[in-house]
């Protein structure tokens, strides 16, 4: 079995070259290859070469097949590459399938004790006696099993001309502070490196120091989101574990513990592991109502469970931030695979005429910044905001610019305190005094006899009193629609690429970003097709989207789901006259999107015209 199975682009054209190759490591889950792969990634990064790492792991704790892909790209392409230029075959169970799709001559590092079976087109084999090499390093069997993985890092260092000192520096980073582990892992890497000296030949591609990662950091989107939330002043986190969102919550808990406790241990935040996702969102709504910056993180099944309370948040107008780190659906689906399948569900979450604000980060940088924007929007528009990340963005390791310190103080939205209430002589919670559909609110505990109002998910009038009157009901619903519509301009504007003059446009969102960028390069280089790109970063749509579509004859809407959900949102929103230009490029395999599947599809469609 290969992770890609019949995934798009597995017979991808192009050949590896200097600082342009993809290494795939196949291991059983839980065998400890995570650290080795991190070292591999870091080594390239430290050599100044753009890298990305994709971890394909099973929904299982130990034993099932796992693949890790390290891509080096002198051009800075960080999307998944469907090509495998070098395989490290550590998992006998998947070896046959891992080898099957390889092009003839592909270098394969494998356990000398388990030579790949015959019948395969000639591969470039590099047998390594892993057990023999780690035997001298440790007497402990469990440890030796882990160290085997560091051996292949050393072997690769030799084969791909990675700088050994950088490997050692990377080991020191990854095992920071654990001197004995550093020593043993360095020894293992050296053993692999030394053993590889005996091969007599090496692959036709490899690495050489560049200067393309200076000042950058390596981080995953969930950590970025956690840090963004920390610096946005989150005060309440209520969550329920679910892959692939757990590391967002756990990263935030760690960061809060480090940065938001006084020396005496007193915390300026509260974290609750709730009993389920309904409770998690209930807590967030309660906290948001009482004035806290409150958030939760979940994935598809949890999002579905939040449907009823999401509608309450919308209708009762309570700020809340919900991160949905998407995974393969429907239902439990593929819990450890990526997807963009929750877009429609999130935008419309709940019965009745409910609409939500969405933020759609496309990079780890945006995971950081949008964490802050989410709170600002939620409090400004007094409504739940859903941030749709995904497993690829959230759990894989990406190069990024360092996180910028937020410039502005927190904007807490329209909150009346005691003095202001005094001045105004009272207020009506749901009255549109400013023409933007957003009423003023008070926080419980405000010491003014006129501060209180009654919050409810049932019909109410401007003064928050219970009402079943048709006119109150209709007026309120219309105001809510106006309020949400008014957010179009406040949400982050689309990211544009290209000079805007190409006849073809590519419209996408979220983690499709790097694959779209690379696909554009492929289209230009291989087929002479110039394509502009627009990446939507929020919902409801920015007013600028329509104009951009109108300026392009054919717009390919790229997304990682089956039902072309972004195209669906565009259809719901745009002037029908524009819709004829839109063409779906929607596909979901569970694997992070690769450029080839996009460029192939667009090229085919363009050529069919």
């Amino acid at each position: 079995m290969s992770p890609a199975a019949t995934a798009p682009g597995s017979a991808a054209p192009g050949a590896p070259g200097l600082n342009d190759f993809t290494v795939q490591v196949a291991t059983p889950n839980g065998s400890g290859s995570q650290s080795s792969n991190a070292v591999l990634l870091r080594t390239l990064f430290q050599m100044g070469i753009p890298v990305s790492g994709k971890n394909l792991f099973p929904s299982n704790i130990s034993g099932l097949p796992t693949w890790y892909t390290v891509r080096a790209s002198r051009d800075g392409h960080v999307a998944r590459s469907a090509r495998v230029d070098l395989l490290v075959a550590m998992n006998p169970e998947t070896a046959a399938g891992d080898l099957a799709p390889l092009a003839p001559g592909t270098p394969v590092v494998h356990d000398a004790a388990l030579p790949p079976e015959g019948g395969r087109p000639a591969l470039d084999l590099y047998p390594v006696p892993f057990d023999a090499l780690v035997a001298p390093i440790s007497g402990e069997a469990r440890l030796r099993r882990l160290l085997r993985n560091m051996v292949y890092v050393g072997t690769l260092a030799r084969l791909l001309e990675l700088e050994l000192p950088e490997v050692e520096r990377a080991v020191a980073r990854v095992f920071a502070g654990r001197a004995r582990a550093i020593e043993q892992n360095v020894a293992a890497a050296r053993a692999g490196f030394d053993h590889a000296a005996g091969f007599g030949h090496r692959p036709a591609f490899g690495a050489r120091r560049l200067d393309a990662t200076r000042g950058k950091i390596l981080v995953d989107g969930n950590t970025a989101a956690a840090l963004g939330s920390l610096f946005a002043g989150v005060t309440v986190l209520a969550w329920y574990p679910i892959t692939p969102s757990s590391s967002l919550a756990e990263g935030l808990i760690a960061a809060l513990g480090r940065h938001r406790r006084a020396p005496d241990g007193a915390a300026t935040y509260a974290v609750v592991q709730a009993e389920d996702e309904l409770a998690a969102l209930g807590m967030v709504l309660g906290a948001g109502w009482a004035g806290a910056r409150a958030m939760t993180a979940t994935s598809g099944p949890g999002l579905s469970l939040m449907a009823e309370l999401a509608g309450l948040g919308y209708y009762a107008e309570v700020p809340a931030v919900v991160w949905d780190v998407q995974r393969g659906g429907p239902s439990t689906g593929l819990p450890t695979r990526t997807s963009q399948g929750d877009l429609l569900a999130a935008a419309l979450l709940s019965h009745g005429d409910t609409r939500h604000l969405l933020l759609l980060p496309g990079s780890v940088e945006e995971c950081f910044t949008m964490a802050g924007e989410a709170f600002e929007l939620a409090e400004r528009f007094q409504t739940p905001v859903f941030v749709l990340s995904d497993l690829d963005l959230g759990m894989n390791t990406w190069m990024a610019d360092p996180f910028p310190y937020p410039e502005r103080p927190l904007d807490r939205g329209k909150v009346l305190d005691r003095a202001e209430l005094e001045r105004r002589g009272g207020f009506a919670r749901y009255r549109d005094v400013d023409g933007d559909g957003i009423g003023w609110r008070t926080l419980p505990g405000t010491e003014h006899p006129g501060a209180a109002y009654f919050t409810r998910g049932s019909g109410h009038d401007e003064r928050a009193a219970y009402s079943e009157r048709a006119d109150d009901y209709e007026r309120n619903l219309a105001r809510l629609a106006r309020k949400i519509d008014g957010a179009r301009g406040a949400l982050p504007a689309p990211e544009l690429d290209g000079d805007g003059r190409a006849p073809v446009g590519i419209l996408s969102f979220g983690s499709s970003r790097p694959a779209v960028a690379e696909a554009r390069a492929q289209l230009a280089a291989e087929a002479g097709i110039a394509a502009d790109a627009l990446r939507v970063r929020g919902w409801p749509l920015s007013p600028s989207v329509a104009g951009w579509i109108a300026a392009h004859q054919r717009v390919y809407v790229v997304e990682q789901n089956r039902d072309a959900q972004l195209l669906g949102l565009l259809r719901l929103d745009l002037d029908p006259a524009l819709l004829g230009r839109l063409r779906p490029v929607a596909r979901i395999t569970g694997l992070p999107l690769d450029a080839r599947s996009i460029s192939d599809e667009i090229r085919a469609q363009e050529e069919r015209r």
Binding site: A267, Y269, P444
Partner: protein, 347 residues
């Protein structure tokens, strides 16, 4: 005697507020509904304790019972949530602002059916708040379907007979580690008042299961939640007096039959035991007494269990004393140096 005398509208409490300042909107419940009496008792208790109404936050789910926060404490903020999810909403709000006094009102449907999961976990967390279940054994607002607290054998208006074991919310709460559990009757003004005031003074989740007859759908002969049945089968464990922190009164009961429990704010609940040997400090025996009594028809009321020392959620989280909600930017956003260090570590 400290049970509140019907407070004349003119009387003021220690804040100088009159009962009127604790009233809410006009009730839209049926005349005679037990829930209305409970609303009265709640507002009286807040008045008597001299709680600033602006410090109280009211929470409820969905049901006739859950509508009641609109009918008391009009000067308090309220969050009427969705069916069965009041506990989580209250938890969030009271974490956001720990200085609030949380008063939750729910129904037996809202708590024991759809909401039982959140109830269980709220009680375990011991979040400081008062949680009143207005327990009538039916779904009032949806017109009389049976609820999970209906006693087996009790008949519904439709003629159907409850045939599953009833959920005893008090026994459940005690077993789950609750710190304050009481049962009362909407018609027992004195007992309910004392318990409510003690509950408001308690630091931890105070569960009050108050039998509150539904005159429209469950007040007939054959129902074990009718006024008549409850009056006849009420078995109070104690006679209760609430003694505010400031007051001191003479003990006028024979020694040995009276106990006192001291609440967080120094106020006390004085218990004159009516059932020999019942000890509201013994968790295991309290549960056994309730479970053993199930099916006897007797409705044990009073303070069923009390543990003033149980750590609360706030203790465990070690929150700063101020409301999290309104901490200024500089207390919730770490300084630039912190981010620089983080960025460095990711380099």
């Amino acid at each position: 005697m400290t049970a509140p005398a019907p407070a004349p509208a003119s009387r003021v409490n220690r804040l100088g507020l009159a009962v009127l300042d604790y009233r809410g909107g006009k009730t839209t419940l049926c005349a005679g509904c037990g829930h209305n009496a409970i609303s009265e008792r709640i507002l009286e208790a807040c008045f008597e304790l001299g709680l600033p109404p602006e410090r109280v936050a009211k929470f409820s789910g969905i049901g006739c019972s859950s509508k009641t926060p609109a009918y008391f404490l009009g000067r308090s903020h309220a969050f009427n949530g969705v069916h069965g999810r009041m506990p989580s909403i209250a938890t969030g709000a009271l974490l956001a602002n720990r200085t609030l006094v949380g008063v939750g009102v729910s129904g037996d449907g809202d708590t024991a059916s759809i909401g039982i999961g959140q109830f269980v976990h709220l009680v375990r967390r011991n979040l400081p708040m008062v949680y009143v279940v207005e327990d009538n054994g039916v779904y009032g607002l949806t017109k009389g379907q049976g609820s999970a607290t209906a006693d087996p054998g009790s008949t519904f208006k439709s003629g159907a007979v409850a045939d599953q074991p009833a959920i005893d919310l008090c026994a459940l709460a005690i077993q789950l580690g609750a710190s304050f559990v009481a049962r009362s009757f909407s018609g027992d003004r004195r007992q309910l008042s004392a318990l409510l005031r003690a509950a408001l003074a308690h630091r931890g989740t105070a569960v009050l299961d108050v039998v509150s007859p539904c005159v429209t759908f469950n007040d007939h002969e054959g129902s074990t939640k009718s006024y008549t049945f409850v009056k006849e089968h009420d078995a109070p464990l104690q006679e209760l007096d609430f003694v505010p922190a400031a007051e001191e009164i003479e003990v006028d009961h024979p020694p040995g039959t009276t106990a006192e429990v001291t609440l967080h704010d120094g106020s006390r609940l004085r218990l004159r035991k009516l059932e020999e040997g019942y000890d509201p400090g013994d968790r295991a025996r309290a549960v056994a007494r309730l479970v053993g009594g199930a099916g006897s028809g007797e409705i044990l009321t009073g303070l069923l269990f009390f543990d003033p020392a149980a750590p609360t959620l706030l203790d465990r989280l070690r929150l700063v004393p101020e409301p999290l909600a309104t901490l200024p930017t500089e207390r919730v956003r770490p300084p630039p140096a912190a981010l620089e260090e983080i960025n460095r570590a990711l380099r």
